[in-house]
């Protein structure tokens, strides 16, 4: 089954991507990524730039409403996603628990709606 990890991070985690103090965090992430790939569960994914770089758009009565910033202003922000191929939710949760950001932020695991995707392919 396909699962996505939605990774939510604190401002401090975002900083750790570049700060000197973040070396351990980056090391942990490199190792985590490698373990995902080497174990054969990694399908794809990407980190995202900070939430402030997001732009949210809504169309109301045909008019564009553009909001500078993320969809929702929360303490922890979406920082990236990883798509995995795994036999069960339990296995996906095991991987989520190993995610370095799970210790400081949060990781949401969601099954991919394969049936919806397939119904859209014409």
């Amino acid at each position: 089954m396909e699962y996505v990890m939605l990774i939510y991070e604190t401002p401090l985690d975002f900083e750790a991507r570049t700060s000197a103090a973040g070396e351990a965090f980056r090391g942990a992430w490199r190792a985590y990524h490698k373990a995902l790939v080497d174990s054969g569960v990694y399908v794809g994914g990407n980190p995202l730039r900070a939430a402030e770089s997001g732009t949210t758009i809504r169309l109301k009565n045909g008019k564009r409403h553009v909001q500078d910033g993320p969809y929702a202003h929360t303490k922890e922000q979406l920082a990236g996603f990883i798509l995995m191929e795994l036999p069960s939710l339990d296995a996906a949760l095991d991987w989520a628990a190993r995610c370095p950001s799970a210790a400081t932020g949060a990781v949401e695991v969601r099954p991919v709606a394969v049936e919806v995707r397939e119904s859209m392919v014409t």
């Binding site: 351990a24 942990a28 939710l89 628990a97 210790a103």
Partner: protein, 405 residues
Amino acid sequence: MEDVHRTIEAVARESYGRLVAYLSARTRDLAGAEDALGEALLAALTAWQRDGVPQKPQAWLLKTARHRLIDRIRHEQVRAASAFTLELIADEADEATSAEQFPDERLKLLFVCAHPAIDPDVHTPLMLQTVLGLDAAAIARAFLVSPAAMGQRLVRAKAKIRDAGIAFEVPEDRELPQRLDAVLEAIYAAYGSGWEGAAGADPRGRGLADEAIWLARVLAQRLPAEPEVRGLLALMLHCEARRPARRSPEGRYIPLSEQDTRQWSAPMIAEAERALAAAATHARPGRFQLEAAIQSVHAERAHGARTDWRAIALFYDRLVDLAPTLGARIGRAAAIAEVDGPDAGLALLNEIELAAVSAYQPYWAARAHLLQRLGRKPEAVDAFDRAIGLAEDEAVRRFLLERRG
């Protein structure tokens, strides 16, 4: 109010399993017994607040829960056997409460929870809930599943016990060893610390250590002639004794070989040694006794002795013969590396098929340490990365990152 709350909590913790076991032993309806006891605990909240805590709180709860159970059975106008059930409950409970004593059926309950007809993954959660009264959310946290999913699994298992008519009894002698294994496995899974070797650790922090030790003590009391029960108790006590030494005050991870032995709990080690000695008198070694014996050798360091790796390697040899689990095979490799050198240890690790360890952290940690000792740097860094990536514990991650260099 607070006091009554605390008293009820204490009584519930102390007697929950005994009451559930007793109430469900005849009906075989665990969920019904738990509901009835839950209602009795709620009723206690108001009644004890109003009238004070009764002299025999346990008997009060039993009486109240039994009434609820009987009401329910009457109300449901149930199955064929219900009249019989009803009678039994009423008779026996009357007798029991009047004697201020009721039989301890928890042993039977443990065997029901670990019955072969029940999915092995639910054995431990069932025990934690029915014998200890832990709620599904707390159990789900410990096992890293969602509370809803855990709740469903428990409900399904209880329905199976009731509908399949699984007997509340201690298995007969010829069946006992195999059935007991499942009970011990389930208790050990609750402890959850798993393998803790010289090369690394897998303290996944899922453990319900106190609960597991408590269950093992109950079991040891009720089955004094089964050496593996005491072996398991000794094993968990040895691991538990080292808990304070496993982290520095700043929260850094400290491997077994570097732990300050003054921080180990001497009373726990002493209890572990007594349990192991009592088990040994039966001259029937088993997996848990061997694992406890290995920990007992490590514990010798508390008396200033050097770790006798040769003895540890011998125990691991026997353990691998008996139960070739991944943890045992990796432990043996680490011990052999101490006796015959890292090459010999690595050769044993190489015998393990890769597919089995692709997500098994202790393997990669052990491998990384041995490769590093052999000066095979690029391979060591590779293995360290795998071990770091698979680690769940922040402190272990940091420790391995530092070791990797």
